[in-house]
Each structure stands twice: as C-alpha cells, then as structure tokens.
C-alpha cells in the first residue's frame, strides 16, 4: 500500500515514512482466489511459538523444582496463583470451568499488545484477530446461557415484554462488536502513534524519548486492554449464570 501521509508544515519538510499498514507478504491460492499471508500472521505465529516455548519451560521448571523452587519456577507459580485469584474473585466457584480459556486469552492478548516493544506489528491491531477473539467469547457467552438457563436463554430475549425482542437481540450482538472494536481501536491508536513518531521525527530525537511513549502506549495500554477484555468476558459469562 502506498498511502503516504501528506504532511508538511510551511516549508519545513517532514520525513514521510510513517508505516503502520498491514503488508501482504506471500500470495496463497485458496479455493481459486488469491489471499495473502500478511504481517499479522507472521507476528501471531511468532507470539504463539514464544508462548509455547515459555509454557514448556515453565512446566518443566515447576515439575522439576517442586521442593526447592528457583526464581523462575517461583515466578511461574506466583503468576498462576494471581490468575486463579483473579478468575475466582470475579466468577466465584464457576471460575474453574473457565480458567483455561481466560488464562490463555489473557496471555495471548497481553503478549500481542506488548509485541510492539519488540518491533513487531501487534496482531491485535488487525481487526481480523480481535473479531475472532470476540466471536469466541460470544459463542462462550451463549453456551453459558444455554447451559445454565436451558430454555430460559431463549425466553429471556422476550423480557420484560415481548416487543423488546429486537432490542435484546441487538444488544446480544453488540457485545462482540464492542469488545473487538475496543481492543482493536486502543492497540491501533498506539501503533499509529508510535509509527508517526518514528516516521516523522528526525533521527536525533529517536533515542531515549520514545521509551516513555512505549511505556504508556504499549505496556500500560496493552496491559489494561488485556485485563479489560478478560474481565468483560468473565462479567458477561457470569451475568448469564446469575439470573434465573
């Protein structure tokens, strides 16, 4: 894509290299049409491989050092206990059915969001990724509703009176939309800001100063958004369970 930014202040030329677009890398034939393997796929693959390596290391370390924990295995145990407390604190006893999904999605979103620190383009800054995550959550919310309320899941759509049905349906479908757009918008805004900074500013200012921007836009914002996504998932699922 060649959508350069047409920016210039008076006669001062500003460098024009801001690049936050998704690049198409490898064309692939797929059922007769051409699709592309993009930067999102590559970055997501890198992150997934990192998570797998981390998980294998953590498992080996925890199993091996059960009696005399090292720093790494103790850290892993603290992280898992924090996660357990987080899930049980907001879902109660029902949390144990969902801990796997919540933990996995939290780790994936968090590492995706902070991958901008390591020079990758965050996969969550692509609407395809966040929409898929939100759709998984949507399926899980509906599954929880049917599981806990049986037919009540359907009759609840006609609460409080029958002509509220369209509004209830819309509000059910608005959940994944707002979840995905929130994550996407936040991370994309951070990515755009960072690439504008790196692309439009002279080389002299590229050292030191961006560290503060990275701390806010990548670390802080990414951690908050990962927390919010998982927290909202738990809230919605728990909501379906609560009402009789």
């Amino acid at each position: 894509m060649h959508n350069g930014l047409a920016i210039g202040v008076g006669r001062i030329p500003i460098r024009n290299e801001a690049d936050f677009f998704i690049h198409e890398l490898v064309p692939v034939k797929f059922f007769g049409s051409t699709v592309y393997i993009t930067t999102t796929h590559v970055c997501a693959a890198i992150i997934i491989v990192t998570i797998m390596i981390l998980a294998i290391c953590a498992r080996n370390s925890v199993l091996k050092h059960q009696d005399n924990p090292t720093k790494f295995s103790a850290g892993v145990e603290i992280a898992i206990e924090t996660l357990l407390k987080f899930v049980h604190g907001s879902m109660g006893e029902a949390g144990k059915h969902y801990i796997n999904y919540i933990g996995a999605i939290f780790i994936y979103i968090f590492l995706s969001n902070i991958s901008g620190l390591f020079g990758l383009r965050p996969p969550t800054a692509d609407y395809g990724t966040t929409l898929c995550l939100a759709l998984i959550t949507f399926v899980m919310i509906q599954y929880a509703a049917i599981r806990y309320k049986k037919w009540g899941a359907f009759t609840d759509l006609f609460q409080p009176v029958f002509f509220f049905f369209p509004m209830n349906v819309i509000s059910e479908f608005a959940t994944p939309l707002s979840l995905s757009l929130r994550l996407f918008g936040n991370i994309l805004a951070g990515t755009v800001m960072m690439s504008l900074y790196y692309g439009l500013i002279p080389v002299l200012f590229r050292f030191g100063i961006p560290a503060f921007l990275h701390i806010y836009l990548d670390l802080f914002s990414g951690a908050i958004q990962a927390y919010v996504f998982t927290m909202l998932t738990m809230t919605f699922v728990f909501d379906k369970r609560n009402v009789e």
Binding site: N3, L181, N186, A189, Q225
Partner: protein, 85 residues
Amino acid sequence: MSINIEGLVHAFSALGAGIAVCSGIGTGIGQGNAAGMGAQAVGRNPGCKGDIMSTMLLGQAVAETTGLYGLVVALLLMFVKPFNK
C-alpha cells in the same frame, strides 16, 4: 485556481476525520469523572483500593468505546479512503 473532484473528496475526508475525533470529548469527560469518583472513593475507604481500581478501570474501558468508534471512523477516512474511487 481549479478544483478537481478528487482533491475535494480528499479535503472533505480530512474534515470528516477531524469531526469524527470530536467524539473524544465525551469520552474524556466520562473517564475523568470516573477517575475523580474513584479517587474520592479511595480517600473515603483506602481499604478497598484494589476493588475500586478494578471497577473504575472497567467502567472507563466501557466509556472509552464511543471515543474509539470515532477514532476508527477517522482512521478509515484518512487512510483507507472509502470515498476515493
């Protein structure tokens, strides 16, 4: 000076992007309100700082959604250019 239609579309797209980002005003007010109330609550009851923090962050994130819709619309207008042929 002649005005071609493509430049006009470009100009109005940029104008629309600027107007769309104005949705951030409401978001800012709402988030600031939530943060102020959170600070008040912590001042009154420092014991439940963690609960107050998590509730406040959740509320702020939900309030942020409308602002982000505006941001997404602005970015679409600026970089995807749906109205250019």
